[in-house]
């Protein structure tokens, strides 16, 4: 983690596949899923491993690395999360209390990590650690899908600007602890920026926002940020004009997951939703167990559905490539394509199979670079890019 004079720079990428955070160059992430605790769903929540509890404005929210397990085990949570997925479809998620709670958890965790590195101080008062944050030197940037900027950026600012007094129970540094985190986010200390633009900024600047020669004059360059829900794209010309910037929800991983869930349901008689696919393929390794009551053999049957996911991914990518080709004149004017984001990495691999169709392209790159002595993955590239924009504006000015 970089130590500047006093400044703490925090970048939050509230992606649908997880909230990615960069604090003074150091990166971490945790699931986006956040649910309000409305009753005593789990009386002994303290004992649940990997569940964080945030108290904010008199309400309690649950999130953390094991939130998906908790949601899977609790039908009420599952139902509420399904409702949240509906809000995703029009970006109204960014105006919800759940989004604000997730964002505040991200900022609190970043400050706790900064305190652990001596960048701000903390002291133990009774059973909780209390953080002393210099709000004058606290700078925040939040990255939103490109299409959501116009409608939701002001809403995010309204939600985050102000004084916050939070209580967080979480395992951030050395086990589960209680933290009291108070800070103020000033209106002139907060930026909201487009995710796909952040991907490019990260690629073309160093750790402190200095210009580097990453684009190597390969203009026009097409930049693609593939996230879980949205996929953004634009081209940048030699004059650094941004052209045709847009983000589409039709080509994100969620769209692939929805199609995959529909096919699995068709073939196996299951009742999966798109948002269940992440858990199915991450935790269950793509194995669906059909109960003996409906299986043909009369026994429990395990069916590997990874092929369905692969096929649906390739199909959707073909549609996306068609969209890109039409939008960018079959890439005839392009010199370079950059892929960022988790879904961007998958699309990068698929695009390589089509390279022979575009011999005019000089370079096809996955956006990944070194930051804070570690490698920024394509999935982290948005958060890291936003952080670099902050560094460009704040450090050494």
């Amino acid at each position: 983690m970089k130590k500047y004079e006093k400044q703490i720079l925090i970048s939050v990428d509230p992606g649908y596949d997880g909230t990615k955070v960069t604090v003074n160059g150091e990166r971490f992430d945790f699931p986006k899923e956040t649910v309000k605790k409305v009753g005593n769903e789990y009386e002994q929540l303290d004992t649940l491993d990997g569940i964080y509890e945030l108290e904010m404005n008199g309400e309690t929210y649950l999130c953390g690395p094991n939130i998906k397990v908790l949601v899977d085990e609790n039908s009420d949570f599952h139902k509420r999360l399904g409702k949240s997925a509906e809000q995703d479809s029009n970006y109204s998620y960014f105006a919800t209390k759940e989004f604000a709670a997730n964002c505040m958890t991200a900022i609190s965790m970043a400050l706790i990590k900064a305190a652990d590195k001596g960048i701000c101080s903390s002291k133990k008062v009774k059973d909780a650690y209390s953080l002393d944050v210099d709000s004058d030197n606290l700078y925040i940037v939040v990255e939103l899908p490109h299409e959501a900027m116009e409608r939701m950026a002001a809403s995010v600012v309204n939600e985050l600007v102000g004084t916050h007094k939070l209580h967080l129970k979480a395992d951030v540094v050395d086990g589960n602890k209680d933290y009291n985190v108070s800070f103020e986010i000033g209106e002139n200390k907060l930026l909201v920026m487009s995710q796909v633009i952040a991907a490019l900024v990260g690629y073309m600047t160093d750790e402190e926002g200095n210009e580097i020669d990453a684009l190597q004059d390969l203009y026009p360059t097409l930049v693609i940020d593939g996230g879980y829900y949205t996929v953004g794209d634009f081209s940048i010309s030699k004059t650094q004009a941004i052209l045709n910037a847009a983000s589409k929800t039709d080509f994100g991983m969620l769209a692939i997951h929805e199609r995959t869930a529909a096919r699995i349901n068709d073939e196996l008689g299951t009742k999966y939703q798109g948002y269940d696919m992440d858990h199915l393929f991450e935790e269950e390794e793509g194995i669906v167990v059909i109960p003996k009551t409906v299986s043909k053999s009369g026994k429990n049957e395990s069916v590997d559905v990874t092929t369905i996911l692969e096929e649906e991914t390739e199909k959707l990518f073909a549609e996306y490539l068609d969209y890109l080709e039409q939008k960018h004149n079959y890439f005839t004017k392009l010199k370079q394509i950059l892929f960022a984001g988790g879904t961007g990495k998958i699309y990068y691999e698929l695009f390589k199979k089509h390279l022979k169709d575009y011999p005019n392209l000089k370079s096809v790159q996955l956006v990944t670079y070194e930051l804070d002595e570690t490698t920024v993955t394509p999935r982290e590239a948005i958060s890291a890019g936003g952080y670099k924009l902050l560094a460009n504006k704040v450090i050494g000015r």
């Binding site: 210009e211 020669d213 990453a214 390279l355 070194e370």
Partner: protein
């Protein structure tokens, strides 16, 4: 028609030029192929570029690659041993049309595309290492187009290419370690991003 010969007495990979047959295909891609082909096969020796001024004032640049164990290379070696100047020998070869034969020839667009396809497949670990020399491509093209395999294919309608870029194909998912050095002192001008940022930092 005027011919101007520029010799490349050492192999500076990014300074080689190949014949252009199609305006839609920038010469830089042919340079890339030349470099990649040379790097992968090591079978060709870049000896010269030929600039031809066409009646329409077009300029055609051609790179001359001698196959290392070909007739022209052997002739060149023999002449050098007799004390003849390198440049003079190459010029003699070209003027006497000993070169640009099937062993010492230039890439056509079709050959370039075919070779590039193989290189891409190889780079993506999805194909065999391209080991065919230029002769093989000429041979294959002749066969495909119904000519005897050993007939040299004449160029038709060469077009001008006045400048080249010297980038090599870059397909990478590796972190950009070397590119993180500042290009200029001071902060990058990121004003292009301002239209896509909400809020101000003070």
């Amino acid at each position: 028609m005027t011919h101007k010969l520029t010799f490349t007495t050492r192999d500076i990979l990014l300074q080689n030029f190949f014949l252009m047959e199609d305006k839609a295909l920038p010469i830089s891609y042919l340079v890339e192929l030349a470099v990649t082909n040379y790097a992968l096969t090591g079978k060709y020796l870049s000896v010269a570029t030929v600039t031809t001024e066409e009646p329409e004032n077009y300029l055609t640049k051609k790179a001359v690659y001698f196959k290392k164990d070909g007739i022209a290379s052997r002739y060149l070696d023999a002449q050098k041993k007799q004390g003849k100047a390198y440049n003079a020998v190459i010029k003699l070869i070209l003027e006497q049309s000993l070169t640009i034969g099937r062993e010492n020839r230039m890439l056509s667009k079709a050959e370039y595309l075919a070779h590039r396809q193989k290189i891409n497949a190889y780079l993506l670990n999805d194909g065999e290492k391209p080991s065919l020399g230029l002769y093989d491509y000429a041979h294959n093209r002749n066969v495909e187009e119904g000519r005897p395999a050993d007939v040299d294919v004449k160029r038709e309608n060469p077009v001008e290419r006045k400048s080249v870029t010297t980038k090599t194909m870059d397909i990478s998912s590796e972190p950009k370690k070397t590119s993180q050095k500042p290009k200029k002192s001071g902060k990058a001008d990121l004003s292009f991003a301002d239209n896509f940022v909400f809020g101000n930092i003070e």
